[in-house]
Symmetry: C2
Subunit: 235 residues, 2 copies
DNA sequence: GCGCTATATTGAACGATGTTCAATTAGATT
DNA sequence: AATCTAATTGAACATCGTTCAATATAGCGC
C-alpha cells in the first residue's frame, strides 16, 4: 500500500520520482545525507506510513520492521528520529486527535440550536470511532505509557476538545461558574466517550443497530435539560 | 511475592505444606500425575498468580515465564490448560468482573432513595477503578481480542452489571419500555464508565481532587431528573 | 575535481517474548 | 514388577523492540 524503496546501493531512484516523493529535495541540507529525505520529511514519512498501517491492521499488528520497510529504511534508523516505537504511536495519535477535533468543530457549525450542535458533535465523535476503529482504539482504549519526555502537546489537544463542549454549555447557562462548566462538560463527554468505547469493544449489548446514536441522543437531551434549569449556585 | 516450587525431582515438598496449598490433594485423580495439583487446582493457581501480578505491575509487565515460575512450573505447561496467554487474562478478567459486580450490588443496598442507590453504585465503580487500576485497565481499556472459543460467560457478566442499573431505572419509571430501559441504562453507565476511564488515563484535566465523584453525581442526578419525567411514549 | 570529515544509515547482534512439540518422567493399572 | 498413559519438561522457533560499532556517502575546503 505504501511505496518501497530499499535499493540505495544498486538501483538509483528516478530523480523525477524522488522529487515527487520529497517535493523539496534541496531544503536545508548541511551534511552528508544518504537519501533524498530531510530529517523532517523522514519524520513525516514515518508517521504517515505508521498511520496508514494502524488504520488497516491495528496498532499491535504494526512492527518497527514493517514501518522501516514501508519507508524504505532499516529499523535502526527509526531510533535516530524517535525515542521509541511508542513515541511514533504518540505522534500518530497527535494526528488522530487533530482530525477528530476538526471533525467535531466542523459538526458544531450549521445547527439551529445549541442542543442540536452538541448532538451533532457527539455523532461526529461516534462516527469517527466507528470509521477509524483501530485509530480510535490506539488513541484511547490502549494504555500508552508516556516516555520520559512529555507528548508534544497531546494533552493540550484533549483539553481543546473539551473546550468545544464547554463553550456550548456556557452559552446555555451563562451564569454557571468555570468549575461547574468544566465538570459538566466532562460529565457529558464522558457519556459520549464511554458509549463510543463500549460500542467499540462490543459491550453495549443492545439489539438496536444504531444503539450508540440513540444513547448519545438520550444522554445529551437529558443532560442539557437539567443543565439549563440548574441555578448557578448549585453545590 | 508468590510461592515458588520448582524442585520436583530432587527436594520433596513438605506434605503439610502441600496440603495447605492444594487443600484437597486426593481429589479425583485418574492418571499419572506428576505434581500434587489436580487439573482444576492448577487452573485456579495460575489465574490467582496472574491476578496478583497484574494487580502489582500491570498486565503488560506479566509474562508467561513469570506466571509459570510463580506457580512452580514450566511455561509450556500453561498451554496444556489454557489456549493462550490472553486466555489466562480473560479468566483473570472474569474474576475482576465478578468482584466489581458484587461491589456494585452491595452498594445498591441500604439507601434511602433509588437515586442514592444508583449514585452509590457509581461511586463503587469509581472506587474499584481507582483502587485496582491495573486490573480495571486490563478489563476495559486494554483491547483483548477474543480467541476462537468465546470467553466463558464474560459478556454475560457485563450484561448482569447493566441489569443492576436497569432494575433501578425500572423502579423510577415503570411505564418505560424494555428497549428504553436498556438504552437509558447504557447511556447512564457509559457516563460512569467513561468518567472512570478518563480519570484512569489522567485525561479529566480538572483541578478538583474528587472531580470524578462530582462528575458522577452531576451525571446521575441530571439524568434521573429527565428519566422520571419522560413519558413512556418518547420517540 | 579530490581527498577529508562528519554523519546518516546500516546490519548484525542482544535479550526477551509467546508458543510448539518431541522427549521424558512418574503415577496408575494390570 | 512391568507396562501404559498422561503430565510436564526443556529446548527450540520465529519474532519482537532496541542498541551500536561499522560503513558508506554527501558536502566541504582546497
Amino acid at each position: 500500500m505504501f511505496f518501497n524503496l530499499q535499493n540505495h546501493s544498486h538501483t538509483l531512484i528516478d530523480p523525477a520520482l524522488a522529487i515527487l516523493l520529497t517535493n523539496s529535495p534541496y531544503d536545508d541540507l548541511q551534511m552528508g545525507r544518504r537519501s533524498d529525505h530531510s530529517r523532517e520529511e523522514l519524520k513525516d514519512l514515518i508517521i504517515q506510513a505508521t498511520l496508514e498501517m494502524v488504520r488497516e491492521r491495528g496498532a499491535d499488528q504494526v512492527t518497527a520492521r514493517q514501518i522501516a520497510q514501508a519507508v524504505g529504511y532499516t529499523p535502526g534508523m527509526l531510533y535516530s528520529i524517535f525515542i521509541n516505537l511508542q513515541d511514533i504511536f504518540l505522534h500518530v495519535n497527535q494526528i488522530g486527535l487533530r482530525t477528530l477535533q476538526s471533525l467535531c468543530a466542523e459538526a458544531l457549525k450549521k445547527n439551529d440550536s445549541t442542543e442540536a450542535a452538541i448532538k451533532a458533535m457527539g455523532l461526529a465523535y461516534l462516527t469517527f470511532a466507528a470509521q477509524h476503529t483501530h485509530q480510535f482504539d490506539l488513541m484511547f482504549t490502549r494504555h500508552i505509557q508516556h516516555p520520559d519526555s512529555k507528548p508534544p502537546g497531546l494533552s493540550d489537544q484533549i483539553r481543546m476538545l473539551f473546550e468545544l463542549v464547554e463553550d456550548q454549555l456556557r452559552i446555555l447557562n451563562p451564569s454557571a461558574s468555570d468549575l461547574q462548566v468544566k465538570l459538566a462538560a466532562r460529565a457529558l463527554w464522558s457519556g459520549v466517550h464511554g458509549t463510543a468505547a463500549l460500542r467499540l469493544s462490543d459491550q453495549l449489548y443492545v439489539d438496536a443497530p444504531d444503539a450508540d446514536r440513540e444513547i448519545v441522543d438520550l444522554l445529551v437531551s437529558g443532560f442539557l435539560r437539567q443543565w439549563q434549569h440548574s441555578p448557578s449556585s448549585q453545590h
